[in-house]
Subunit: 307 residues, 2 copies
């Protein structure tokens, strides 16, 4: 699957993933009102509004970018109707030719980790049938439990041609509390990076990149540079551009000499573009056009820093 991602980045010229993190406050009121009319102010109503919002956003960006990254927490808060819309969003995005990175940050041990890998990237055996549940192309994974938590994902990735992005250094302010602590003179995230490289060596794609990628926040460019060096064949999923504070200039270190090796996420900056300058003129009815323009602007912005 990493080969397909690399190919689509080259075809689109856009190392960009649109984060589908639909806070209800982002969803234009006309969509919410319509949904509440049909389903009342309920979990079903909220979920329907989110689905309409997502589908319009996907239609608006599907030809511009290689991938979308739905954040499952935003759906999980609406319970079963919300998760149904998560599943619908994954399917709809794939139908539109997009690669789907499920931002699920799952991580557990042994048979439990196997169940998560199965849920998101694999197929579950039910008597004689093998059935997919959520069926994303990639998933994000938490490394705190060590190799026991990762190996079941590697197995499923190998069998089903899927990939994962393992959290190395996250973009949030308190990410350093544990991730930056020095162990034998090196921060924890470098130890995690070494493991990511080791896990990834078992699953190399034809493009020279591994199916095991890393999440490395855009907000720490010196970390990006160091990890680019430490993990030369590890693709990076880079959150924190735009709304979280990092600009294009900070992103150069995450890419290699060929302008590859990273895919930068923007969520709010694209999907809620209509709420802020310079996209206010689109208005809330024009939210999808605003998102499209914001995606075009982000792709243009990133051109200056690649290669």
């Amino acid at each position: 699957m990493i080969d397909r991602l690399v190919k689509r980045i080259q075809e689109t010229g856009a190392p960009v993933v649109v984060g589908l993190d639909p806070m209800l406050s982002y969803v234009p009121w006309h969509l919410q009102k319509k949904a509440y009319k049909e389903y009342s102010e309920s979990l079903e109503g909220a979920a329907l509004a989110v689905r309409e919002y997502n589908y319009a956003l996907i239609d608006a960006v599907a030809d511009l970018v290689p991938a979308v990254k739905p954040q499952i927490a935003m759906y999980e808060q609406f319970g079963i109707p919300g998760l149904q819309v998560y599943a619908d969003t994954v399917r709809y995005a794939k139908e539109k030719g997009l690669i789907v990175i499920g931002d699920v940050k799952r991580g557990d041990i042994g048979s439990t980790s196997e169940a998560y890998a199965t849920a998101h990237l694999g197929r579950v055996q039910v008597a004689g049938a093998r059935l997919a549940a959520f069926d994303e192309d990639f998933a994000t994974v938490n490394p705190y439990l060590g190799s026991d938590g990762i190996r079941p994902f590697l197995k499923v990735c190998g069998e089903e041609d899927r990939g994962i992005f393992v959290l190395a250094k996250t973009s949030n302010p308190s990410s350093g509390e544990f991730q930056d602590r020095l162990i034998d003179g090196k921060p924890l995230y470098e130890h995690v990076a070494e493991k990511i490289r080791e896990w990834g060596a078992e699953l190399m794609g034809e493009t020279g990149w591994s199916e095991v990628g890393a999440v490395v926040g855009a907000t720490y460019p010196e970390v990006g540079a160091r990890l680019r060096e430490l993990m030369p064949q590890t693709f990076m999923l880079v959150p924190g551009y735009g709304a979280q504070g990092a600009g294009a200039a900070e992103l150069k270190p995450y890419f290699d000499a060929d302008g590859l090796g990273a895919i930068v996420n923007s969520s709010r900056g694209i999907i809620a573009a209509y709420k802020k300058e310079p996209y206010l003129t689109f208005g809330s009815e024009g939210f999808a056009d605003a998102a499209r323009q914001a995606a075009i602007d982000m792709i243009e912005d990133l051109k200056q820093v690649r290669g």
Copy 2:
């Protein structure tokens, strides 16, 4: 909620939580066959079989133990029908008077962590309505992202009288890869424990225990002893008894002088007791009676090590 857990442990004399981790291979064939007849060999069929299995298990242990701990991964692998059964299981267990610890190991940052906290312990605002999604009493949380990931849970716990158990030292063989690494002369899990104590100080219950507990694996008793000392007011959720290898003798250090401070999980050892000695005579039709007997035996086993 921690006060209620402590009270129920005292009333039942059972510092035991039954892990509802229904691998499909644990679900007796007669339940599966019936479900597949109704829904075919589908995700719906598997989910229905799991629901029947869980309800019978809950009925069998509800008067013996204070709590159950459904592992959401086992439901997530069956997609939406599976998660519906997770939700049904939470509700059914609560109706039977059990406290429910959602073993979800979620962890993210900022508004995303807030969404997870809302999904599992809180209420989501949908226009004028405030609605609960999964509504567990406790949830397990991953600390890798630092305080940004935990604070939204603390907020919801304070508002809704709920609790969390943060992963400190997990029970799996490779837990040491990162958790045991020395930072300033102390293993990472001790640094996490210090943070757990700090977070927990904001949410103390009337019993003297905090709403912020810790997950500490039964397989490392010396770690249990050390963390008991470091976190005197932190309740421990202890996985790894039985099937994962730890016996009652190893569990003494997790408890305080009053025989409180820990709740020990058993999953397979209870819910799939009918598959192994000395419970084989119950047969697969008697799976729930076997589970009840295994729970009684575990409670008895733990009596020798408490206080």
